[in-house]
Symmetry: none
Subunit: 132 residues, 4 copies
C-alpha cells in the first residue's frame, strides 16, 4: 500500500489549516512508503531552513515507522542510538515527523512539519496525518 497524491494533498491541506489556527508559518512535506517526496508546501514567510528539515522529518518518520521525537529520545548522549542522525544523509530526530496510516493501520507514508516550536510542529503533523 502506498499513499496517493490525492491523499497527500488532503494531508497538506489539513496541516496548513492547523498551522494557520496556531498562527504559525510551516514547511509541510509528505513522503510515500518508499520515503520519496509526494507533496510539499512552504507557507509564505516560513523559515527557509525549515524546508530541508521538514523533508528530513518526513523521511525519518518513514525510515523507522515512528514519530521523529521517539527517535530523538534514543539518540541523546548516552542513549542507545546516539548520533544516529549521521545516517541516511542526515536525519532530524526532534518532534514534527509522523507516520501516515491508512484505514487498515498500514503505514503508507509520513508527514514532516517544521517552522515553529517543536510542539507546534508536532501538532500540525498530527493534524495532517489524522486527515485520512
Amino acid at each position: 500500500m502506498n499513499i496517493t497524491l490525492a491523499q497527500a494533498e488532503k494531508i497538506v491541506s489539513a496541516a496548513k489549516e492547523k498551522a494557520k489556527s496556531l498562527d504559525t508559518k510551516m514547511n509541510i512535506a509528505v513522503v510515500d512508503a518508499g520515503a520519496n517526496l509526494v507533496a510539499f508546501a512552504r507557507m509564505d514567510g516560513a523559515w527557509l531552513g525549515s524546508l530541508d528539515i521538514s523533508i528530513k522529518k518526513a523521511k525519518t518518520a518513514r525510515y523507522f515507522d515512528m514519530n521523529t521525537g521517539a527517535v530523538g529520545e534514543l539518540s541523546q548522549p548516552g542513549g542507545s542510538l546516539y548520533n544516529i542522525e549521521h545516517s541516511n544523509n542526515g536525519l532530524i530526530t526532534f518532534p514534527g515527523g509522523v507516520p501516515i496510516k491508512n484505514g487498515s493501520e498500514e503505514i503508507i507514508g509520513a508527514i514532516g512539519v517544521s517552522g515553529s516550536s517543536v510542539e507546534n510542529d508536532q501538532a500540525v503533523a498530527e493534524a495532517g496525518a489524522a486527515a485520512l
Copy 2:
C-alpha cells in the same frame, strides 16, 4: 517580488491539468525567487527518478532566468557553457524548466516538470507558468 504559496499551488494545479490532458504522469516543482522549493506534487505512477529532475529543472530555470533548454544548448561539447551541469549540486539543462513572471514581467520563481518526453515536460511547465 516573490511568488506566494497560493500562486505556486495555482501553477501546480494548472500543470497537473495539462499533464492529464496529455495522458502523462508528472513530477511538478515550483521554486521561489530564491530558488527554494515552494510547492511540489508527484502524480501517481510518475517516474521516481523525475522527482529530483523536476526540482533541479525549476532551480536551473531560476538560477539563470531562462528556460532550461536554453542552457542546454550552450552546455554541449564545444559550447560556451560546456558541462555547467556540474555546478550547484547538479543542474538539469534539457527542456521542462521555465521562469515564472508576474504581471509586471518580473521573475518571481520557476517551475520544473519531469515525467515524459521533453516536449511534454516543456508543454506542462509552460501551462503552469501561464496560469498566473
Copy 3:
C-alpha cells in the same frame, strides 16, 4: 507490489550463474520498487569501482522503468536528456540495469550489474531479471 528478499536472492543467484558461465566477475545489486537496495553480491575479484556502478544501474533502471542503456541513448551530446546523469546523486546510463517484473508485468524492482563489458553486464542483468 514490491519485490521480496526471497525473489531478490533468486535473481542474484541466477545472475551469478550467468556471470560464471561468461567467465566474468560481477557486482550484482537488486533494488525494490522504491529504488532501495534489497540484495547485493560482489563476486571475488570483481572491480571495486563497479560496486557503486551496479547499485546506480539498478536505481537508474527503476527510476525510469527502463533499461539503463535506453536512458544512455537519450543522454548523449545533442540528445533530449543530455547530462541527465547529474540527477539523483548520479545515474549510470550505459547497459547493465534492467527493471524486474512480476508475473502480472508489474515492475517490482530492478537489477544492476557491473564488472565486465557492457554487453556482458547486460546479459547477466537480463539473466537475473528472467529468473522470476
Copy 4:
C-alpha cells in the same frame, strides 16, 4: 587475507536465521578487509532507514577493527573521540557492527546489522560473525 563472497553469504545466512529466531526484521551488510560491501540482504518489512545504518556499522567496525559499540563509548560528549561520527561520510557507533575474523584470528571483514533494538542488532551481528 580477505573475505570471500561464499564466506559473506554464509554469514548473511546465519544472521538471517538468528534474526528470525528473535522475531526481528533486519538489514544485514558484510564488508571486506577494504571496508567495501561484499553482500547485503534486507529482510521483508525491515526498516528502510536501517539499510544505510547496517552498511555504516559494518564499515565502522572494519575502519577501527572493533565493535561499533566500543567506538560509541568513546564518542560521547567529553569522550576522547567526541563526534567521530562526522568522519568517513558518517559513522554509526552504537552496537550492531562486529569485525569478522578467520581461523587465524586475522580480521578479514566486518558485519553490520540494523533493524531492532541495539541488543538484538548486536546479537544478530555476533551470530553472523561466528558462522565462519
